[in-house]
């Protein structure tokens, strides 16, 4: 039994109890998210761990997610990214930069009429795939786009 497994079990237990509390109507799911920053997911190294931490393991490739980003970013410190999801019932959009030390960059939860669209600017340390993960109807979908970076935006 190693320590990683222990921390995983601990996390799973906590997440489970929150879900139970939410299901019981004790707390609204929105309130949970408003205060809680998913530390484990943001600390995850590598895309497989990040996907696991957000519960999106086995996300299906989808052509209905469009990532609008430059093919070549001259400045890795400011890379504009736009994600549009045409999947009905899109309730969350996540952004991961595969080669950043911690891939998960942003997690957007959409509700009350918010469309499957977000636009932001992110930092990229080096040329990498940018992965968008979309949650719709309890399922996860994903796609990637490569962005070439000529000057890195992390450290320096």
């Amino acid at each position: 039994m190693n320590s990683k497994r222990r921390s995983f079990l601990k996390t799973a237990g906590t997440a489970g109890s929150v879900a139970i509390a939410a299901a019981a109507g004790l707390i609204k799911p929105t309130e949970v998210l408003a205060v809680e920053w998913n530390k484990n997911a943001f600390a995850a190294k590598g895309v497989p761990d990040a996907l696991k931490a957000v519960g999106a393991v086995g996300a299906a490739d989808s052509k209905d997610i469009l990532i609008k980003a430059p093919d070549i970013a001259e400045n890795g410190a400011v890379v504009p990214i736009e994600v549009t999801s045409k999947i009905a019932g899109t309730s969350a959009i996540m952004l991961m930069v595969e080669k950043n030390a911690s891939p998960l960059t942003a997690d957007f939860n959409l509700s009350n009429g918010a469309e499957g669209y977000v636009s932001t600017r992110i930092k990229m340390g080096q040329t990498s795939n940018v992965r968008a993960v979309v949650k719709a109807g309890g399922k996860y979908y994903t796609t990637t786009k490569e962005v070439k970076v000529t000057i890195g935006g992390c450290g320096g």
């Binding site: 929105t30 998210l33 408003a34 205060v35 920053w37 998913n38 943001f42 410190a77 400011v78 890379v79 504009p80 736009e82 930069v97 950043n100 030390a101 911690s102 998960l104 960059t105 942003a106 997690d107 957007f108 939860n109 959409l110 509700s111 009350n112 009429g113 918010a114 469309e115 669209y117 977000v118 636009s119 932001t120 600017r121 992110i122 930092k123 990229m124 935006g153 992390c154 450290g155 320096g156």
Partner: protein, 104 residues
């Protein structure tokens, strides 16, 4: 300290196109101070909440990898002119900021 936020909310058809520009250093914690050689501690916005007429429409969690002076754009269906937009954020040091705008 928290500087003002810029919000532009324009109606496009039946959807509000909301653009927000926040003022924040978004320090990664990986950068070294040029003079001291010490790592500059991480300082970044962790959560952002957007409300339209008091209803939550977007909740974001961010890492250090969102660019300095973050930009956020999103669209909300069913919005009308005059609807109130509120954006607020909290960073990893517990600093907060909030701003209001009206859809036009």
């Amino acid at each position: 300290m928290a500087e003002p936020m810029k919000i532009r909310a324009t109606l496009e058809g039946d959807a509000a196109n909301i653009k927000v520009l926040m003022n924040h250093v978004m320090e990664t914690g990986q950068r070294k101070d040029a003079k001291t050689g010490q790592l500059v501690p991480a300082h970044f916005i962790q959560t952002v909440v957007a409300n339209l007429n008091g209803k939550v429409v977007l909740e974001a969690q961010w890492s250090q990898a969102v660019s300095k002076n973050p930009f956020l754009g999103f669209k909300v269906k069913g919005a009308k002119a005059g609807d109130k937009v509120n954006i607020s954020w909290v960073d990893n040091k517990g600093e907060k900021n909030s701003a209001d705008a009206t859809v036009s």
